[in-house]
């Protein structure tokens, strides 16, 4: 039985590693896409200020009840000179969602001050998580 316990543990770890790797790949792909052609979603944003790119849909209840309040708190606490939040309706801009590899909502990307994607959150990201991630890209 011990061998099966170990195998189960390995499979679970592989799943977790696979998920992390998939998300890292998504960020790299987004960074590569943005580097090739400036993304219209980022047009007009202040340079030198990190960005939270937030994909949502009208049917996403967690977006409304959890993610949006967390982003509002983030903006209030940090101010517009420390973070810019760009909200994108993935149903109205499906091409943008495709470009960024978004297939569920909410999805948030953390972009550094050069507007290079550095982190992705699939699912709700708490205020604490977002704050921590922004601190890493400053």
């Amino acid at each position: 039985m011990l061998d099966r316990v170990l195998l189960a543990a390995v499979l679970v770890m592989l799943g977790v590693i696979g998920w992390i790797a998939f998300n890292r790949l998504s960020v790299r792909r987004a960074a590569h896409t943005v580097a090739k052609n400036p993304d219209p979603l980022l047009a007009g944003l202040a340079e030198g200020v990190p960005v939270v790119l937030y994909f949502t849909t009208p049917t996403c209840a967690p977006c409304r009840t959890l993610q949006r309040p967390a982003l509002n708190k983030l903006q209030t606490m940090l101010g517009t000179d420390k973070v810019q939040i760009v909200q994108v309706d993935a149903t109205e801009q499906p091409d943008a969602a495709d470009r960024w590899g978004v297939f569920s909502a909410p999805t948030t990307f953390i972009l550094d001050k050069y507007h290079v994607p550095r982190q992705i959150n699939r699912g709700v990201a708490s205020f604490e998580t977002l704050t921590q991630q922004l601190a890493q890209v400053v």
């Binding site: 039985m1 799943g15 998920w19 849909t57 209840a61 699912g123």
Partner: protein, 158 residues
């Protein structure tokens, strides 16, 4: 696109019940693998399929409603949502586990366990990342106007 919707206020789903369901599915399937008891996979398949056909008989959710919730061990998380996509996701999982059971009966355990772990992965994606693959499939079929997938996503302000 089919768009049969009661007023949104009538459509409520307790997501704590869904998460309890997913946790049981994941836990029991991993336990089945460790103990090498494939009939446990068949049991989970039966619970999922019966729970889809007769929602009031969904055993894992009953544990939540009758034990965990009344005792305050798990707090309710009621959201405006359609139950049908979640039922469909459960049906898909149940069918995969039925195929898994068939594989065991036909003495192809590698396929059986592969399918069981696939269901574990889907349930884990739902439980930990909030991504319901079955729900995504349901709403895609709704958009395509496929008969039987009549519920469109409930609009909310975000």
């Amino acid at each position: 696109m089919n768009n049969v919707n009661n007023p949104a206020n009538d459509r409520k789903v307790d997501h704590s019940a869904l998460r309890t369901n997913q946790a049981f599915i994941i836990g029991l399937l991993i336990l089945a693998f460790i103990l090498n008891i494939w009939p446990l996979v068949a049991y989970v398949a039966a619970v999922m399929l019966i729970g889809t056909a007769v929602p009031s008989a969904a055993q894992f959710k009953l544990v939540y409603f009758r034990i965990l919730k009344p005792r305050g061990l798990v707090k309710p998380d009621v959201k405006t949502d359609n139950p049908e996509p979640h039922m469909f996701a459960q049906l898909v999982g149940g069918l995969f586990l039925t195929a898994s059971t068939l594989a065991f009966v036909l003495r192809v355990p590698v396929v059986g366990w592969g399918l069981a772990w696939f269901v574990v992965a889907l349930a884990a994606l739902n439980l930990f990342a909030g991504i319901c693959v079955g729900c995504i499939m349901y709403y895609q079929l709704n958009r395509l106007g496929v008969s039987g997938f009549s519920r469109a996503p409930i609009q909310s302000k975000s």
